[in-house]
């Protein structure tokens, strides 16, 4: 089996897309026809996937929205991953991080039980909390670096020996990349931070949430996300329409973002992966 980064590159090239669709389900926002299905969450996700799979490089369910729904939600999550069936990578956005044997249990849950191709993890507990994930050589491990939320500066921006903590994290993750399966989570909401992280980690895939409506932000996101930007959009795609045309609307929203990224193409982008 090819490694995660290779599978990601393949999907980016095949679909000419750096768009990752965030499958962040919300039972309260399902269209009426979907609610009548036997398994509404799965029906919704399957429809979104079927409508977009030739336009994306990855899907990213955030586990929070499934855990909120209890066992039923987690069964739906499993069925959702199964439905993608390896056609593009699926990133389990779990932000896990624990000490050794507990971290190994989380890695097993995410990679073996749920079958994700990659997962997001938190760096706070240090290298030995991330290494059980890294040992899955064919799986991707996106370490939280600079997150997209307003409060991300509370600790991530603190100065540590002349540079902010998120830069220290980025440097360490570059060192941890012996198996070539590391990535970083860097929010689109902080383009300048994104630029600095790209300088530190020139080759790592970046999972970039928080793309807004502003073209400026998207331009910086594409520029500094290169050569491996995985640009996530969740609610703007999956809830693009609340009506019966939700799947077509999701496809249109996905393609709009995809085209916007293609049009930004930084200089020399013919040589980059996301053409």
């Amino acid at each position: 089996m090819a490694g995660f980064v290779e599978r990601l590159r393949d999907a980016i090239a095949r679909n000419n897309s750096c768009v990752c669709v965030g499958l962040d389900v919300d039972a309260a926002r399902l269209p009426a026809s979907v609610r009548r299905e036997r398994d509404p969450l799965v029906a919704f996700n399957r429809a979104i996937i079927d409508a977009t799979i030739d336009l994306v490089c990855a899907y990213k369910p955030n586990l929070a929205f499934y855990e909120r729904l209890g066992i039923e939600g987690l069964v739906a999550l499993q069925k959702t991953v199964e439905h993608v069936a390896g056609r593009v990578p699926v990133i389990g956005d779990a932000k896990r991080g624990d000490i050794g044997h507990a971290s190994a249990a989380y890695a097993r849950a995410l990679f073996d039980v749920f079958g994700f191709d990659a997962a997001t993890v938190s760096p706070y507990l240090g290298h030995d909390s991330v290494s059980p994930f890294l040992e899955y050589k064919e799986k991707g491990v996106f370490v939280l670096c600079k997150t997209s939320n307003a409060g991300s500066g509370d600790f991530q921006d603190l100065q540590v020996g002349g540079e902010p903590l998120y830069e220290v994290v980025a440097r360490r993750v570059v060192e941890w990349n012996a198996n070539g399966n590391c990535g970083l989570v860097v929010g689109a909401t902080y383009p300048e931070h994104l630029r600095r992280v790209r300088e530190i980690a020139p080759d790592l895939p970046f999972l970039i949430p928080g793309v807004g409506a502003q073209a400026g932000e998207l331009e910086a996101t594409v520029r500094y996300g290169m050569p491996l930007p995985v640009i996530n959009s969740s609610r703007q795609i999956i809830f693009a329409s609340s009506g019966e045309d939700f799947a077509q609307a999701a496809r249109a929203a996905t393609d709009k973002l995809r085209q916007s990224i293609i049009q930004i193409r930084p200089a020399g982008s013919q040589e980059t992966v996301c053409r």
Copy 2:
């Protein structure tokens, strides 16, 4: 309903115990008789709980070990929390942390769906990632501060403006405690760090994992954990025997730790909660 800290104090006083039993299940280590039960994980946990509930102040299942077992594990986790039935607090050791609405979904999952009395959360994403948990005023929120693992120093010990990051985290959590429901996770493996965190946060409950065989460590743990130490032991209790006497062995191991803590009693401990 009384707040979490009050319920915790009640359990400590009632059972004269600062012991928290970590229900970190391992399907490979169940005794033969338990394996023959219809629902082995639940049968094991119920037996441990029934054998120890008058000797503990809390239980702490780490979600990693249940997620590793997939849906079956998560159903067992729900049944385990139900079996405690509010007799002592149950802390969901989840170490979650995400941006706003995802963090709110995690809080809902842990507090409303699984019914935990408290949860562990990671600080890396900042205040707005923790606040959805804090808004549950009757629930406890233990923020990771200085964890017990060897790699905890990678980031937690980095100097930030003259003090290590974990101290900065402790100070911030003291500020976040408007609802009186904050606690800190501080490993018993770093007694000096524990002492410093106790200076910064004199009143907060500390969830203290990593108690080893060394009396010296336990002494510092009790001293600096006061006035609200929640001293966790997992495998040394629940796997104290691999035979059919596992529940009695767990009871004996729990009481041994409980008595050791009582005997350490720092000066003036009559006035402290853990007598």
